[in-house]
Amino acid sequence: MIRRALLALAVLAAPLSAQDTTRGVRIGLTYDAGTRPGVVVLPSRGVGADSLRAILQRDLGFGDRVNVIDLDAAAADAINRGANSWPILARLGAAASVQVTPTPTGLHLAVYDVAKQVTALVRDFPAPPMTDARGWRAAVHGLADELEESLTGTRGVARTRVLFERNKRIWLVDSDGEQIVAVSGGTGIHGSPAWHPGGSMIAYSSINPWQIVVQDLVSGGTRTIAGGTGVFISPVFTPDGASIVYAHGVDDGVDIFTIPTAGGTGRRLSVGRGSDNTSPTFSPDGRRIAFMSGRAGHPEIYTMDADGTNVDLLTPLEFGENAYRASPDWSPDGRVVAFRSGNGSLAQVLTINLRDRSLKQLTSEGANEDPSWAPDGRHLVFVSSRSGSKQLWVLDTETGRTRQLTRGAAVRNPAWSPRLPQN
């Protein structure tokens, strides 16, 4: 009966979204309040089953919302031999077990409620063949995100990607550190990548030639949106995607401009009077912009209305202090702005609360900068020197857990994507 009720709930939820038929569905698992539900990912049979299980376990682990429990060899053997798995799973502390099986057309998901000893959810996901590694992995990540939502009520961010700079080009990496690929080509030194809210278009800045470039990730086609004499820096799309806001200046300081994404003429928003004003980031409602400004003789984070009015100093300005604040990124829930603060290379990542201006230091190991929020508003990607070279790391701001996302040549300026569409 419970199972029927849950399935009925899933069906009722279907009209909410044409793309995600289980969106909003949560399985009522039983586990101790204040803890993360324990989840066992059961082995399965079929081509790619082991890879599938490994990716899923990693995605759930990286999500930091469930406790992925290892199935020891004895338990796995017992379950494989057809033993009653409920007491085994209960002994391991699992609130749920999950099994994903490859099918000819995709992936078959089954979720079991261990306490109630029932099947809680069954669903089939379309997926391309494994030979299409990128598409297949994206399908698995998408399944992981929906599974996380079913288990915890909050959708995961496994099917997201991170843009970053490496060796003067823009690169992409999946949220689990796999599928690293160069995106930008041609002349110039490319930096400061930013996502269109739809997830299929990016913008970045170029040095020599100095310009703002828009690139379609599907076709690879590029378009120069602004360019010429002076610097063209730090583009960012408005939350509706209709405009790009960027910083530009020649001999009289750098100011923040806006230009339609479809093309047009740049219009100045900030009035820096010869100071540097760069690195805009929008509040989720698109009404305010946080940015870095040196207008007081010292780089700090300010906010202003989207039309450039009502400028307000956000970070505390301490007279005589050598450290400066830069690289703001407004959290998706709108509550805080992450930024870097520090003197030269000795920087750390902090957040400041928009309501009470309280500060929270998030990093302390090595030098850390360039924070960018994941769409869940909980995880941050940033650049850290803690491993010896500048690499991308991911921080869970709730537990403080970190993981290294990239290795190899130095990187900078990450930008975490929105949740990406199915394709």
């Binding site: 100095w210 004499t229 009289d252 300081g253 690195s279 030269g344 300026n413």
Partner: protein, 204 residues
């Protein structure tokens, strides 16, 4: 007979018919033998004088060529000096765009060269060390280039003759993560354009 005498005698023998040929259209009266002897003696003296004059002329030509060569070398030296002055980098303190005294002296020399050579234009490129964010450094590099341009304008150089740009921290002059490397990288570089013709030394 010394070799010089022989040469003069040969020249005389050859020269006379040639001279005669020149005046063929205007017949000369026949000269007496005695007079001929005298003429030969006179010609020898004249030839010596001519020879000395020719040697003098050759020396003057050589001197003149050397002078020309010297003038060319001097023009080339002036050109090299001007280009070196225009290309000399200037350096900045950490996180600063202010011009230090040593930088002003270098820029004064550039201003003088630019004033003496009105066709020359200059691209000023600002650079930073690797510390700080990429975006901040791009803005800082632009500010450094703009400060340099502003100073040269204050010294009378038209702003239309100068363009500014920033490479931020993307093109370090030297690799390294110590202050010595950082100082080399916090700089403005200069590219002089329209320098194909002669370059004048500044008027002192």
């Amino acid at each position: 007979m010394t070799r010089r005498t022989l040469v003069l005698a040969l020249m005389t023998t050859l020269a006379v018919p040639a001279l005669d040929a020149c005046h063929r259209s205007k017949p000369e009266p026949e000269a007496a033998p005695a007079a001929t002897t005298t003429t030969v003696d006179m010609s020898a003296a004249q030839r010596r004088a001519d020879s000395v004059a020719a040697a003098d002329a050759a020396r003057r030509r050589a001197d003149s060529l050397a002078a020309l060569r010297n003038a060319g070398a001097d023009a080339e030296r002036a050109r090299v000096e001007a280009l070196q002055t225009l290309a000399q980098k200037v350096y900045f303190d950490y996180d600063k765009d202010a011009l230090r005294d040593d930088v002003r002296a270098v820029l004064d020399a550039k201003a003088a060269v630019l004033a003496a050579n009105p066709a020359v234009t200059l691209v000023v490129t600002g650079h930073t060390d690797e510390r700080g964010t990429a975006e901040y450094n791009l803005a800082l590099g632009q500010r450094r280039a703009a400060q340099v341009k502003r100073y040269l304008v204050s010294k009378g150089i038209s702003e239309t003759r100068m363009a500014t740009q920033s490479m931020g921290d993307s093109q370090p002059a030297v690799q390294g993560t110590d202050e010595a490397a950082y100082q080399q990288n916090r700089r403005a570089e200069f590219e002089a354009m329209n320098t194909a013709g002669a370059l004048m030394r500044p008027r002192s």
